[in-house]
């Protein structure tokens, strides 16, 4: 290879300062992560409930969660579009290249996602007739979604390791590559996956709080099942997180040990928030104050997820240090459009909130069907 494989920067200048794209990327990515965690975690816990993890009300829980998934999945997708957009603006050189290297798995993401999504609607429709029905279809949808997550981890790890590109590409330009030789791939994927299960538990705790019209026994069962899942997954996350940390290239470790004050503070904050959430949930697991517990756990979880999202970004820039030079970006802010976007964005969020508030959920998070029963 005589040439530098890092693609050249696009000659069209950035239409806003670099930091703004970075900010929008991190904020929208955090929202996407939370929605994704609800979706994937919800799937796992619904399936596990039917397989005996929940002692009581397993079918009812399965139905309850399954009917929410057709709303949670599109929330994940729509919230995923924005970070994908902003990622391309600043990391296009790396992201487009790694995508081409794994082109077929990457392309198949959309095909598999469509199938998984129809599966969720199928399950949701079945459970209306018979509580707890559609387990095997949900399992199918879950496996597809789990594979999609794996492809995402593959693409993102590959996008930050340009040294691996040429060998992979010329060995298979037809785009059937994966990135299995990457040491961090499995722990990184599991790190995301474990978080999803924990946040799925949070979803159940929130449901227990919001289902004010459901009977006390069911609410308690839902809360305890969700709370336990949250605790176990969060505790497992410490182990998985250390495995991920240990799998990182040695030279990055000092970053988290004081060399980079922000990275160190974020890691400590994230871990402390997770630990605090575990304590909060453990202490309230057998209590009745669902609202307070669910909301404190949510606040701590959002803090932990946001901290990890920023940390992840710092780590990416560390990987890309030899190749990525944001100071070389030419910036010509599109002042005639940017305020319009910001205005519409805020207006859109406000309208969405009004839509949510005007909708009579009658005692359930995105409770759209049960109230009618």
């Amino acid at each position: 290879m005589p040439h530098d494989p890092i693609p050249a920067l696009d000659p069209i200048p950035l239409p806003a300062p670099y930091w703004l794209f970075k900010l929008l990327l991190i904020v929208t990515f955090t929202l996407h992560l939370l929605a994704m965690n609800f979706t994937v975690g919800g799937m796992v816990l619904a399936l596990m409930a039917r397989w005996g993890a929940a002692r009581d009300h397993a079918n009812r829980m399965f139905t309850d969660i399954a009917t929410k998934l057709p709303v949670l999945l599109p929330a994940t997708v729509t919230l995923g579009v924005a970070p994908l957009l902003f990622l391309q603006v600043i990391y296009g050189q790396f992201f487009y290249t790694s995508s081409v290297l794994i082109a077929w798995p990457w392309f198949l993401v959309l095909v598999l996602l469509t199938i998984a999504y129809y599966g969720l609607y199928y399950v949701s429709a079945r459970t209306h007739r018979e509580a707890g029905a559609g387990r095997s279809v949900l399992l199918g949808s879950f496996l597809l979604v789990a594979f999609i997550g794996f492809v995402y981890s593959t693409n993102l790890t590959l996008s930050q390791t340009p040294a691996a590109w040429s060998g992979k590409y010329f060995a298979g330009p037809a785009g059937w590559n994966l990135n299995l030789s990457e040491r961090t791939l499995v722990p990184r994927y599991l790190h995301f996956f474990t978080a999803a299960v924990a946040v799925g538990g949070l979803l159940l705790m929130l449901m227990a709080w919001l289902k004010r019209d459901a009977d006390a026994g069911y609410r308690r069962a839902l809360f305890q099942y969700g709370g336990k899942a949250f605790e176990y997954a969060s505790m497992a996350q410490f182990a998985v997180g250390f495995w991920f940390l240990a799998s990182l290239p040695r030279e990055f470790l000092p970053l988290f040990m004081g060399d980079n004050a922000l990275a160190t503070a974020l890691l400590v904050t994230g871990m402390a928030a997770a630990a605090a959430a575990i304590v909060v949930v453990a202490r309230a697991l057998h209590g009745e104050d669902y609202r307070r517990t669910a909301l404190s756990a949510t606040g701590l979880t959002v803090a932990a997820v946001a901290a990890m999202a920023i940390l992840r970004d710092i780590l990416r820039d560390e990987y890309l240090k030899p190749y990525f030079h944001p100071e070389r970006f030419v910036v010509e802010t599109q002042w005639t459009v940017l305020p319009l976007f910001l205005g519409l964005f805020l207006g859109g969020v406000a309208l969405w909130l009004v839509m949510v508030m005007r909708y009579p959920f009658t005692g359930g998070l995105n409770e759209t069907r049960d109230g009618a029963k």
């Binding site: 040439h3 494989p5 696009d10 929008l24 469509t114 330009p173 037809a174 859109g348």
Partner: protein, 520 residues
């Protein structure tokens, strides 16, 4: 050349076409279908028509399953696909229009949320509030089309953006409003066409008859506005581009014809649904839907075809090279590559010699449109031409003249052009044949010329006597500097001239001229 090329054996272009045609067929339904739901619900509420409301409830579910699931995911799918096949062009679109996309995303988000509230709200909302969610959907869906239309039309007619690079200049480009008119009409027609699918399943015969008529009432007026809005759209496309669809480029011409015929078929089938509306069969509704899909697919193919050789007109070629060099393009322009060479510029090539180098050049320069054996497969195309090596090399020198300039010019050094020729020559056997005028024309001249009396080559040959014409054809670049030096033998030239003179007799010309005028 800046990015690695994804080697799609069956054709990268075909994959994009497949993903996008199916997406636009659903996304236009998403725009029109929302209005259909809200207006129909409003009417039914005013009349207290419980039967219609019950059907609408089912139709909403169908609408969401098609648009929110398939429509939304395939829309993201287009992003994935173009980024894999045209990373450089995608990067250009992102850099020039990220705020447009971001605004579109806001509407997309509202659209999806409102659609779900509307669907689940059938059970739970009082009618006025239900309609309120419906109208939010309608406005958000149309707004997202208003934005995307700006970016899609920008790719075909960027207008003054090429000089200014200013957001709104490219956005409100020459085809913006006509294209919006065309797409609005298509969206409204599709609302009715998709509605026939669920209406055909209504059991109550009286209700079914009414709903079929109501659906057709959306289709016919919308389709009737298409001819004037298409005419407006075509007028806004620079005539030199549109010439592709008028004969100069066989595929574009064929798709333009297909679009017109299938639109007429759609119209007639919609009209036919009125004959016995209460007995409309699902199969009939599906046939109508397929005719509409064919119309829309052909329309999008024409739009893509006349844009060739560009992916963003006058800015970037389909093979990701910039049309004109700029200070920051890192050498990815035709001019710069003619100097530095493909293998000296592309980042994702293996260095090689001879035909092997030609293979690499093919990969990075031709493969975004061509394959070897599948979509736009060169083995088949070249075998049909039967060029021997010298002729092939000559043709590679004037790629950008072929079929109304449908291809970018060859970029690279002389030696690299030779290497590409050497590689392409390995794909097919070039059998020498007896000189035959018609075959010579079809194999050689027809890549740029049409066998028509108004064509310049035909008029030129006919303007001389046979002997002078035969003589003149010996040195083609002397006739026109960009003609490839085909080095036709004396026998070949004589055969060609003889064929042209015999074919285009005065009587034949008159007939052909009449046909051409009728066709225009």
């Amino acid at each position: 050349m800046n990015y690695p090329v994804w080697d799609v054996a069956f054709g990268a272009g075909l994959l994009i076409a497949l993903v996008s045609v199916l997406h636009v067929f659903v996304s236009h339904f998403a725009v029109g279908g929302g209005l259909f739901l809200v207006v129909t619900e409003h009417r039914a509420l005013r009349r207290g028509d419980a039967g219609v409301l019950a059907w609408l409830r089912k139709h909403t579910r169908f609408f969401v399953l098609v648009t929110v699931v398939y429509g939304a995911i395939s829309g993201v799918g287009i992003w994935f696909t173009i980024a894999l096949i045209h990373p450089s062009a995608t990067s250009s679109l992102i850099h020039a229009y990220v705020w447009g996309w971001a605004i579109e995303w806001v509407f997309f988000f509202l659209e999806i949320a409102a659609a779900l509230f509307y669907m689940y709200g059938w059970d739970k909302l009082e009618p006025r509030l239900h309609l309120w969610y419906g109208w939010i959907y309608v406005i958000a869906a149309y707004a997202s089309m208003v934005i995307i239309n700006g970016i899609v039309t920008f790719m075909l007619t960027p207008g003054k953006w090429i000089e200014t690079h200013a957001f709104w200049t490219g956005f409100f480009n020459p085809t913006y409003f006509p294209s919006l008119a065309v797409r609005t009409a298509i969206a409204l027609a599709l609302a009715g066409i998709y509605a026939l699918l669920t209406a055909s399943r209504i059991r109550d015969v009286e209700l079914k008859g009414r709903m079929v008529k109501w659906s057709v009432a959306w289709i016919l007026p919308a389709l009737a506005t298409l001819p004037p809005s298409i005419w407006w759209y075509i007028r806004a496309i620079p005539p030199e581009l549109w010439a592709s669809a008028r004969g100069a480029m066989p595929t574009a011409t064929r798709y333009a014809g297909d679009a017109a015929i299938l639109a007429a078929v759609t119209f007639v089938l919609a009209l036919g649904a009125l004959v016995r509306p209460a007995r409309l069969h699902l199969g009939y509704a599906v046939a109508l839907l397929l005719a509409a899909l064919g119309t829309m697919g052909s329309f999008e193919f024409v739009r893509e075809a006349v844009r060739k050789p560009f992916v963003i007109a006058n800015y970037m070629y389909d093979n990701s090279l910039y049309a004109t060099p700029s200070a920051d393009d890192q050498g990815f322009s035709v001019e710069a590559i003619d100097e530095a060479g493909v293998l000296g510029t592309a980042r994702w090539v293996r260095q090689a010699e001879g035909a092997a180098a030609g293979r690499e050049i093919f990969r990075v320069e031709c493969q975004s449109c061509h394959t070897i054996d599948a979509y736009r497969g060169l083995r088949r195309l070249l075998a049909a031409r039967g060029w021997e090596r010298t002729r092939l090399d000559a043709m590679l020198g004037s790629l950008d003249l072929m079929h109304n300039g449908v291809m970018p010019p060859f970029a690279g050094t002389e030696a690299e052009r030779g290497a590409l020729g050497a590689y392409l020559a390995t794909l097919y056997p070039a059998a020498p044949a007896e000189p035959d005028g018609q075959r010579l024309f079809e194999r050689n001249c027809s890549v740029c010329h049409e066998a028509a009396p108004y064509d310049r080559a035909i008029t030129a040959i006919r303007s001389f006597d046979a002997e002078t014409a035969t003589e003149r054809l010996a040195n083609l670049p002397e006739l026109f500097v960009r003609m490839p030096d085909l080095k036709l033998s004396a026998a070949e030239r004589a055969a060609l001239v003889q064929w042209v003179r015999a074919r285009f007799t005065a009587a034949g010309e008159q007939r052909a001229a009449l046909a051409v005028r009728g066709g225009n």
